[in-house]
Amino acid sequence: MKRIGCALALAAALVLAAGWAPSLDYPRSPVSIIVPYGAGGGTDLIGRALADTVKGSFPRGIAVENRLGGGGSVGMSYGQNARPDGNIITNITVELVTLPHTGTGGDISHEKFIPLIMFNSTYSAVTVQKSSPHNTLKDLLTAAKTDPIQVGNSGIGAIWHLAAASLEQAAGVEFIHVPFDGAAPAITSLLGGHIDAVTVSYAEVVSQVDAGELKVLAVLAPQRLPVAPDIPTATELGYNVSVGSWRGFGVPLNTPPEIVAWLEKTFTDGVNSPGFVKFMKDTKNDIELLSSAEYAKRLARDYEMFGKLINDLGLSK
């Protein structure tokens, strides 16, 4: 009898554990996604699209908040120092592992984040006006040997500045780097013919390329982009340069593991949802999905890699 009682109690405990044990008290409050760049840029739009696909899982709401400045360090610093309760999620970008090397990142560090997922990667596209006399990457780089070529980027030390700088290094030329507060104003300036080129991501210039306003001379990618198979890579053209960015979500260190697991699953489902896949296809962005564990390894690897690149370029602090 006693045994049966024990067994029953055990069974009941198991049922309880299976049924109710992970009674996660989250999300209880509205959740913010901090986008460290200007509204309307590539990071912002993808962040908003992903936030929208998962909004059903956040009964109190999930909102995107732009905190810009310092090439991304303002928003990411805010995010890493937020209370580790999962209510502040940060849209982390490659600047998290580049700015600490250039000494312009304030206190940001990839070791102060738990990465949730990575959902996108993108590479620099060397883009000029359609009417530009430069029709190939070689034209542009040859011209840069004699004339000042003004190249717009999304902030000093930001990834698209590094892209232009490593292209300079590979080709043995010098550009005049013009920093803007995000990619959108840099593209606007190129459209008006105020600068000669931009080295921002392909996704950010594609609508102007389709409309015949701008043309892409080359992408700084390891291989041709699936969304743009006709555009050559710089490597094919003899310049061994590949600089790209990724986007993902992270939460502050010490966020409870059950919240991290819940967020990882929720956002993974969001990335795989038909709506998000269609959005990414429509806006010509590539999806590259990494889990929390894989993403942590990638962060460590890229931190090393960019440290070397930035040091080689003489941009380190």
Binding site: P30, S32, G38, A39, G40, D44, L45, R48, A49, D52, K55, G61, A63, V64, E65, N66, R67, L68, G69, G70, G71, S73, V74, S77, Y78, N81, L99, T102, G103, T104, G105, G106, P148, Q150, G155, I156, G157, I176, H177, V178, P179, F180, D181, A184, P185, I187, T188, S189, L191, G192, G193, H194, S207, Q208, D210, A211, G212, F279, D282, T283
Partner: protein
């Protein structure tokens, strides 16, 4: 093409669309009128609803919020000297003195009319001249932004009549506040005292609430405690604007609407700058500039027509270039993307009917704004008649809610209180808030674009005078600064000969 336009016209007049536009405008006015609740916040609140609405209805709601919030900000600016949003800070200058005289109804009536005219004017421009104005947007590069911001700063010399020295000090303090935060060009933190809170710069909304609402509340409490403040008597004779007022403001309305539309079309500049420029130009062209600041109808109409005209202008770079000029249009860009519409140069070709339907939606939003404004006017105008002991606690509560609601951040409340106390001290010392606000709004634009221009020109200052738009703006700025001084000198000079004769 014509077929598309008429299709779009009838699509815009569907019952559901009318309802969404009406609802959005209502929400917008309510949000705009609460200090601290901004149009961006209103837009993000209704955004999730718009995803569930098929077709263009969601955009009608967003447009309603967008327009309504700009107008709503003027209501509190006029009644309690507290701009509901930064767009209406200039409206305080003449709106509040007019309301203080017991003519709150007249001021509200003027601002409602001016807002509607400005909004409709810009909608017409959006409908007919988008490609042309889109070119203005791309013609604006760093030197032009710098020149525009310098022109904006030169307005300090005009908006405050009391003491030019004190205005300049306040403007310089505003410029200083604008340097707080991480530097765009080097990424170094400046004046952050090691705090993360100040890394992103001085928070604008808590500062506005503190400087205006909180400081004004403290002053009113003090005056009311001493029994200085007589209970306001407000008689509302009619809700429609008077004929002589209409005649007085007609030129101002057109000029301000044009200014607002153009400034709106430039990415990165919005209703806050447009309203100051419109006010300044109204004063420049007026036959009685010395009366500005005492409650003249042009002083109310100019900023309100200017800031509401931004609504149509701001949609131009969004629709034609796919570039959102401010946070509000960025939310709309998100809404477009979610509906599978990618704004940009191909939008008018690929989604003709949708685009024209949306443009007609802007007309609707402005018409509803007008109807709601006049319908609510008698109610709004009673607010100043509420006794101070009742009104002030409500104002203070809204100060706290507004500051906190922005980012759900308690630090914003502390910052609001600090700026409120500073604002109170400034009032007591005879400084006024507008130059400080102007300095803060324009400081970042001035600094970043000066540096960027000099990078582009390889360090030569000539870049500001060799480019036509920038040169014209610089000359206007210089004339704004020096014409009053020259006029004064000429007057002195003319006065001298008779004096010399007498001697």
């Amino acid at each position: 093409m014509d077929n598309h336009v008429s299709l779009a016209f009838w699509a815009a007049l569907e019952w559901s669309n009318l309802f969404y536009a009406f609802f959005g405008t209502f929400v917008g006015i309510a949000v705009g009128a609460m200090p601290g609740l901004s149009s961006v916040m209103g837009l993000t609140i209704v955004l999730p609803f718009t995803f569930t609405i098929d077709g263009t209805g969601g955009f009608f709601m967003l447009l309603g919020v967008f327009c309504g919030a700009i107008y709503g900000g003027s209501i509190t600016a006029i009644l309690i000297n507290t701009p509901g949003t930064a767009n209406s800070a200039a409206t305080c200058l003449d709106g509040y003195p007019m309301a203080k005289r017991g003519e709150a109804g007249r001021a509200l009536s003027l601002s409602t009319l001016a807002s509607t005219v400005g909004g409709l004017f810009s909608a017409f421009l959006l409908l007919w001249t988008s490609p042309l104005l889109a070119r203005i947007a791309t013609n604006f590069a760093s030197p032009e932004y710098f020149a525009l911001a310098v022109f904006g700063l030169s307005i300090v010399a005009r908006v405050s009549s009391d003491s030019i020295l004190k205005s300049l000090i306040a403007a310089a303090f505003g410029l200083f506040l604008a340097t707080v935060g991480l530097d765009l060009f080097s990424g170094h933190p400046r004046f952050t005292f090691g705090t993360v809170y100040l890394m992103g710069g001085v928070a604008m909304v808590p500062l506005l609430i503190g400087m205006y609402a909180f400081a004004q509340g403290l002053t009113s409490a003090e005056e009311s405690g001493r029994g200085v403040l007589p209970p306001s008597q407000h008689k509302i004779t009619g809700i429609l604007p008077r004929w002589d007022d209409l005649k007085a403001i007609s030129g101002t309305l057109l000029r301000s609407s044009l200014i607002g539309s153009i400034i709106g079309a430039i990415p990165g500049t919005g209703g806050d700058i447009a309203s100051w420029v419109a006010y300044n130009e109204a004063k420049r062209w007026s036959k009685r500039p010395e009366k500005f600041g005492t409650g003249v109808p042009e002083g109310v109409a100019a900023p309100e027509a200017g800031n509401n005209a931004v609504s149509g202008g701001a949609l131009i770079p969004l629709l034609t270039l796919g570039i959102p000029g401010d946070a509000g249009t960025a939310v709309m860009l998100g809404a477009f993307m979610m509906h599978g519409i990618v704004p940009g140069p191909l939008l008018f070709r690929d989604h003709t009917v949708e685009v024209y339907t949306i443009i007609f939606g802007l007309f609707l939003a402005n018409i509803f704004m007008c109807l709601l404004g006049y319908a609510g006017l008698r109610l709004f105008a009673k607010i100043p008649s509420i006794p101070m002991p009742t009104l002030l606690p409500i104002v203070f509560i809204f100060c706290f809610i507004g500051a906190f609601a922005l980012n759900n951040n308690v630090d914003d409340i502390y910052f609001m209180i600090v700026t409120g106390v500073v604002g109170y001290a400034l009032i007591k010392l005879g400084f006024s808030a507008p130059p400080l606000i102007l300095g803060l709004i324009l400081g970042g634009i001035v600094e970043n674009n000066l540096t960027r221009s000099l990078v582009l020109s390889n360090g030569s200052l000539a870049i500001f005078f060799t480019r036509p738009i920038s040169c014209v703006l610089m000359l206007i700025a210089l004339s704004t600064l020096f014409v009053p001084a020259i006029r004064f000198a000429v007057k002195q000079f003319r006065r001298q000969p008779p004096a010399a004769k007498a001697a």
